[in-house]
Each structure stands twice: as structure tokens, then as C-alpha cells.
Point group: C2
Chain length 171, copies 2
């Protein structure tokens, strides 16, 4: 399964940590790329890249300027487009169908999302119809359609699960 994320309208001052968390969540639950629009944020990119270098990939982060064009290109390439929004239909209705889709682009909104995104997306999907968090909404959604990613390429470090305490294995 090829999963990619599009994070709309990143603002350096306000969103640095939130978008970082969106990126880390994407990587650990099976996505291979995150595109983001809004402010270009090299520091945020670097913090994601450092995690990928240490804990493995593949995972890339890329700043883009034309979100609509990206969505249209992905559609042409056969991607299913899901837009996460608290106003959409519950993700639980879509899980079985999306578990079978080979190529998926998931749109994660920012403060305000223009109507065009609702129109362009194949599905407008909510994870709870409540104000939640784009980070946890994406996490729950990815966990449901993909599950946890077990294998990472070129990892230098791996966590070995423990009942108590911390154990890191270095390669």
C-alpha cells in the first residue's frame, strides 16, 4: 500500500510542532511521504528527516506550492483521495473499502479548508464529529486502514519493547 499525506497551510509560528507530529504519525503508521503547503519550514523538515535517518524509512517530507495541482496529479495516478474533516462521514464506514486501496492520498487540513478540497476529494471523512486534533484523527485513521508499520529500512536504532524501562538496539 502506497500512502501519502498532504498537510495544508502550515504556519511556522503556530504549527511547527503540530505538523512535526503529523509527520511522525504518518511515518510510523505506514505513509511514505508527507507534502505540506503554506510556509516552507526547513527546521521542521530537518527534525523529521533526523528521525527517519535514525529510525529508518522510507519517508520523505516535501514542501509544495500548488496543493490543488498535487491532488489532481495524484488522482490521475490512480490515488484515492481522502480528506479528514470533522464534518465528513465517519471513517468507520470507509475502513473496509480503504484497506483494499493500493494508492492513497490523505489530506489533513489547517485552520480553514476551502470548499474546493471537499469537492476534489473522493471522500470527506471524520474521526469523531467533534473538535479533536488532526494528529490523533490521522493516527486513528492510518491505524485503521494500514495498522502499525513493523519494518523500516536502514534504521540505525530500534526500540526493543520492555515492560519497564528503556532498551535501544543500535545497528
Amino acid at each position: 500500500m502506497q500512502i501519502e499525506i498532504l498537510r495544508l497551510n502550515h504556519r511556522i509560528a503556530r504549527d511547527k510542532r503540530i505538523t512535526t507530529h503529523v509527520g511522525l504519525t504518518s511515518r510510523s503508521l505506514g505513509a511514505s511521504a508527507i507534502y505540506y503547503s503554506g510556509d516552507k519550514d526547513s527546521e521542521m523538515e530537518s527534525s523529521i528527516d533526523k528521525i527517519t535517518e535514525k529510525f529508518g524509512g522510507p519517508f520523505k517530507i516535501e514542501h509544495i506550492k500548488n496543493e490543488i495541482q498535487l491532488i489532481k496529479d495524484k488522482k490521475k495516478q490512480g490515488y484515492t483521495i481522502s480528506h479528514l474533516t470533522m464534518y465528513g462521514l465517519s471513517f468507520e464506514k470507509y475502513v473496509k473499502k480503504l484497506q483494499k486501496e493500493e494508492k492513497q492520498l490523505i489530506i489533513v487540513g489547517g485552520e480553514k479548508v476551502e470548499p474546493e478540497y471537499y469537492q476534489l476529494s473522493d471522500y470527506n471523512i471524520s474521526v469523531t464529529s467533534q473538535p479533536i486534533s488532526e494528529v490523533s484523527a490521522l493516527g486513528i485513521f492510518l491505524y485503521s486502514i494500514h495498522g502499525i508499520k513493523e519494518e523500516f529500512d536502514n534504521a540505525k536504532i530500534k526500540v526493543i519493547e520492555q515492560e519497564r524501562g528503556k532498551l535501544l538496539k543500535e545497528f
Copy 2:
């Protein structure tokens, strides 16, 4: 099921939005309270309280000074204590057991978590053994043990699910 969250070591400058997202995630997936330590942050409390006033509760946020005492008190009251950490055993091993626990306190760490918390907790639990996000880790965990909360008391606003667009019902 009575679920409460303890968020450790909140720092106003760095964590304002992350802790807000932890709070909103908690509320929308069945928790009835979030306690937090570190900096007291009235603005962050107010943003959570406003959501609860509009979209319903019950949900409270409370700043505390003595985290260890809170954990010990909750243990005495029969709460099961789960500490979310990337170093713990996978949550998937615990889901069935925890779905049956009536009273639960879930600890969400900050930047660095002292060994004492690993010792005091009944379970040290990971949601992926990767650097993820405390927001999505908590979301996936709550979704797995509780599921989405459908009914909120005293809501003034409710989102009505739509395939496209936005619909809010006011009471």
C-alpha cells in the same frame, strides 16, 4: 467506563497546542478529565473549556502540582494506571484486558519521563515502537479501549455528518 488522563510537564511556550490537542483527543474519545502538571496555563484551559461548553461534556481540565500523589490516590481508588511510552509493550497486547477495566488513568509523558513513572504504572504501553506523537498515540489507544464517544451532555452545537460540506445543528 471512567477514563482520566494525566499529562506530565506542560511547558507553556512549547506545548500549548500539543497539550490542547491531547485534551481535545481525550474529550472526544471518552475521557472525562485531564490533569496536567508543569506550567499552569489558563489560556490553554480556557480553550478546552470553550469546546466543552459548545460541544458538550462532561469534561474537565485541572492543573496539578503533585503528579506522583495523584497517581497514588488514583491507585487507591481502584484505577488501572497505563503509561504511554514508545519503550513499552505494544498496546495491542493489552486492549482486550483494558476494555474491561472500569476505572483508568492514562499517563501521557512530556519531553523526559522519570523512571518513577515506569515503576508506579501498572502498564508501560507503546503505540508503535517509533517516535510518534503523544497526541496520536493517545488517540489510537483511547479508540482501541473505548471507541468514539457518541453522546455528550449539554451540547449547544452538534456536527451532522455530510458527504460534502458542513452542517452544524444548534440547540
